[in-house]
Symmetry: C2
Subunit: 563 residues, 2 copies
């Protein structure tokens, strides 16, 4: 590849923009003049039919496309247009392949016309993918300049632009139309999305703020309804953070539920805390639709890490009966929910505290039970041990990826360059034992809550912040404890929206005494004027492999609070 | 602890023997004069009632004990007596706690008398445990002299003789009576069972041969019916090898099915190829009884490594319907079974080849389909990569355990002392990626067999040797490929008995040309006169987490061949 890394990055950046048809090009206003680019702002560039289509949920789309009421081509064209706008407004895309998508959609329409039936249950559904998934015809750079023109940094593998990830194969089987891949921070190890190719991905609801990361392109794109649903990955919060920052639902399933096979990654082979893939969407029903659809493809037959656990209706029905969604009134029961008000390291900012209070109050008003969540082991000990796994190789993997081009890492991931100690096998084994012991203690803490509840069960779930702030301000994401403890435990968690920052209500707490350096940084980063209007979200946490239950509960709670 | 390591070992050895009541002491005949100590030989030391009880399967025992027909005390006394004989004849026990067991049984009988109901579904069932499980009142030495008087090599932990493993807690809940812990090779890394405390554990059916390992004490004990069922562990064959060598069934479940929590281990924290626990018994029904019973205790609530997968009746019923055990004749179908005749590194000896032929012929006679199993990747590449995990720490863990006492490792595990290279985090990660890729290739090989079968399905299972020989001769176990490839793949496998060596039939193959050094060693170790009468077993292999299906299939095949 010719030129400096800056030139290579610029060329790639321009080629992405060049994939947007001229008629969809706009002049993006400066952030200062237009902080919120969602809703009426973006509507001005779309016709009514495009707005109708792109503001339809995935569940509603497939209801129409699978019976031929909506054509796949019309649907994908609308989303391509809106995705093009989203990219120009927030820098959320790495790969644009609208032409291929439109061809795929036409082929689906022909198939439907001929056979009078859909390709699959997701016929004609546009799905966006984080730029870790390999899709034929386009690159996977994962934000690394050195990966341009390669397969995961290697040249001449024969896989370049041909190989597809296992989940991509499954999505195509199901009838999905792929049309773009979304931005990530290079290395994937940040709650903000920025790299030398695409620059910084902003939050469409409030462009003063981060879209989140590492699945930040997904967050911004779906937040702006440039895609109805997309897939990210999560090793420390990377699905839940962008979901939360953009007012979306996002599930971090437990390890072994959904297929990671053939997906590019950082530090591949680190086996202590594993990254997982999962969907983000504006509604829980859409997360369920995609999760169930993937499971219907028996991913365990093609991914050795996936467990043979089909969708469990019985688990889902337990919650549905308990919350009165199905069954008779005699089955309706009380939920018992733990609330993590603080992890003792960084206290959540006022809007997050208000969100916790909104949810707790609503639950209690409906007769449910809310308990303070004060676990042993402490979250600080969980993080101190579990997050060693990010440092096992002393950054060797990411350093080698940067070395391919000589590019300078963005500040947000520079911490990875400062690791000095390369762990030995004995040290890794000792860490694994510690993680297991901490997980065991946490399990028993959870079990023991049966002594505090009035339901005869331990708490059904825990509600916690995803981050101490509604969304990070650029360069100021300084604490991952609220999202990452879930990964250390390998628990199932669903991010869900609660409210929006209201500068008149969510004021700075005067005279606040920070409890740690990170807490001080978080406190000082908060400015109600800057944050006004931003999404405020939380997460619902269940134990390992509780995807069906957590989705059912998240949907119930979402309805309670009007989301 | 005073004295040399030899003195400490002797003292422990004597204390084990001293736990056997005087009236149960016998003078064991030399091996030469009595090769087979099962059946009529051991019967001479038992009364009719003891023989009746100890030759009753676990399923039949609990049918009687749970309705009060048999008293727990009488049952446990009979097994204690026979276990005492087994130990004196084969060196199979590390810990004997008959007194505590009889007290537990009396308490159960009192409970039953008072409440007119059993403690649990396994009320009064004696269960033996490999000496990795912690049981209150006794030590866990795992064969290390340096662990005598400690908790896993550490003193003053407060856990010594008090702490119990999670599965022990569950077994007690179910009503099981624990009465002894069984011999292992120190380090657990051998297919023979020998250590400096207890010496060499012989095969009761043919004392010229090994009982197998590392759960060799279980194999010998249950083989001699000194226990109806017991639990071992398996990281390279350690359940299936002793099951096979002793004519028993033994299941190696996939990782995450049964609880390992709080069980002592070697190289704890090695996270690439994990050891698993599983039962050994004379019948498949007994393996099922124990597996289902453990799962009924929701082990995932107390072991963070266990997946929430209750017993799946539907998986079991698929096989039962297919084999005509349930449902109507229209559901009965053809099975398609792969047969691994050789792995290309070591060819199985004549009795093993005959066993493969017996099973294949029987299946074909009943209209089932048998296909040669010639997988890619090759088993030698699976082993070369997967078994690096045993060497990650260059033997650091086992060396430190030996260093506690200064004892000399037995020859069978001395290979662990010669590892020089301590793996780095990057090397471990690269190994993990290779293992995953090999598993993926193997999965796809399996999937592709759908093109060869006439059933419309890929093969339902694979039948393979557990070892190239019926049982190893002492000191001559030189190849683990047939058992260990299953661990590298994390597949579910059930060892099952097929026949016995017949020196008149299973002759040495004259003029045989060995295909490798290990093959030469195996070929040269075979002597029909020495092997005559030994058990000849195989294993049935299914993909990951197929415990229900593999047990159902093993039971079907066992019935076909009259076992």
């Amino acid at each position: 590849m010719a030129g400096t890394w800056q030139e290579q990055a610029q060329k790639k950046r321009e080629s992405i923009l060049a994939a947007i048809p001229q008629e969809w090009r706009i002049e993006a206003p400066p952030k200062e003049s237009q902080v919120d680019v969602t809703g009426s702002f973006v509507h001005q560039f779309l016709n009514e039919r495009e707005i109708e289509i792109t503001e339809t949920t995935a569940n509603e789309i497939v209801k129409k496309t699978t019976i031929g009421l909506w054509k796949a081509e019309e649907v994908i064209r609308a989303f391509c247009h809106r995705a093009a706008l989203a990219h120009q407004l927030t820098n959320c895309l790495h790969e644009i392949f609208f032409d291929a998508a439109i061809e795929d959609a036409k082929a689906q329409d022909e198939y439907f016309a001929k056979h009078k039936k859909p390709i699959g249950p997701l016929h004609g559904l546009p799905v966006s993918l984080k730029d870790q998934f390999h899709v034929k015809g386009v690159e996977t750079t994962m934000g690394y300049v050195g990966w341009i023109g390669t397969f995961e940094g290697k040249k001449g593998t024969g896989k370049e632009k041909v190989f597809e990830s296992e989940m991509v194969r499954e999505l195509r089987n199901l009838g999905v139309i792929l049309f773009c891949k979304t931005a990530v921070p290079h290395t994937l190890m940040s709650g903000e999305t920025t790299n030398n190719i695409i620059g910084y991905t902003s939050n469409p609801k409030n462009r003063n703020l981060a879209a989140g990361g590492s699945s930040g392109g997904e967050g911004a794109l779906i937040g702006l309804r440039g895609s109805p649903v997309g897939f990210g990955s999560d090793i420390g919060g990377s699905i839940r953070i962008p979901a939360a920052f953009n007012g979306l639902y996002g599930i971090r399933p437990s390890v072994g539920r959904l297929p990671y096979e053939g997906v590019a990654n950082s530090m591949d082979g680190q086996n202590s805390i594993l990254s997982v893939v999962g969907p983000l969407a504006p509604s829980v029903a859409d997360l369920r639709l995609l999760t169930k659809a993937i499971l219907s493809q028996n991913p365990w037959l093609h991914d050795p890490l996936v467990h043979e656990i089909p969708w469990r209706y019985s688990s889902e029905q337990e919650i549905l009966a308990l919350t009165g969604a199905i069954g008779d009134a005699s089955q309706v029961g009380k939920l018992s929910i733990g609330i993590l008000h603080t992890d003792g390291v960084v206290n959540p900012l006022p809007p997050i505290r208000r969100a916790l209070s909104i949810v707790a109050t609503k639950l209690q008003q409906l007769g449910h039970e809310v308990l303070p969540w004060t676990p042993t082991p402490t979250h600080s000990s969980l993080l101190a041990t579990g997050l060693k796994s990010w440092a096992f190789d002393a950054g060797a993997d990411v350093k080698s990826a940067f070395a391919l081009s000589g590019e300078t890492p963005v500040d947000q991931v520079s911490f990875l360059m400062h690791y000095k100690h390369h762990f030995s096998a004995s040290e890794i084994a000792a860490t694994n034992v510690e993680i297991r012991q901490l997980r065991k203690q946490y399990l028993e803490y959870w079990n023991d809550t049966v002594k505090q509840t009035s339901t005869g069960r331990p708490v059904d779930a825990v509600i916690a912040p995803v981050a101490p702030f509604p969304a990070a301000r650029p360069g100021l994401y300084n604490y991952y404890g609220y999202s990452a403890f879930v990964n250390v435990l390998d628990y199932t968690a669903v991010a869900f929206p609660v409210t929006n920052v209201d500068k008149a209500v969510d004021k700075v707490e005067e005279g606040y005494k920070p409890i740690s350096d990170s807490d001080k940084g978080t406190y000082e980063s908060y400015d109600p004027d800057i944050y006004d209007g931003a999404h405020v979200s939380l997460q619902l946490i269940g134990r390992k492999l509780q995807e069906e239950k957590m989705l059912a509960l998240a949907e119930y709670i979402g309805k309670l609070i009007g989301k």
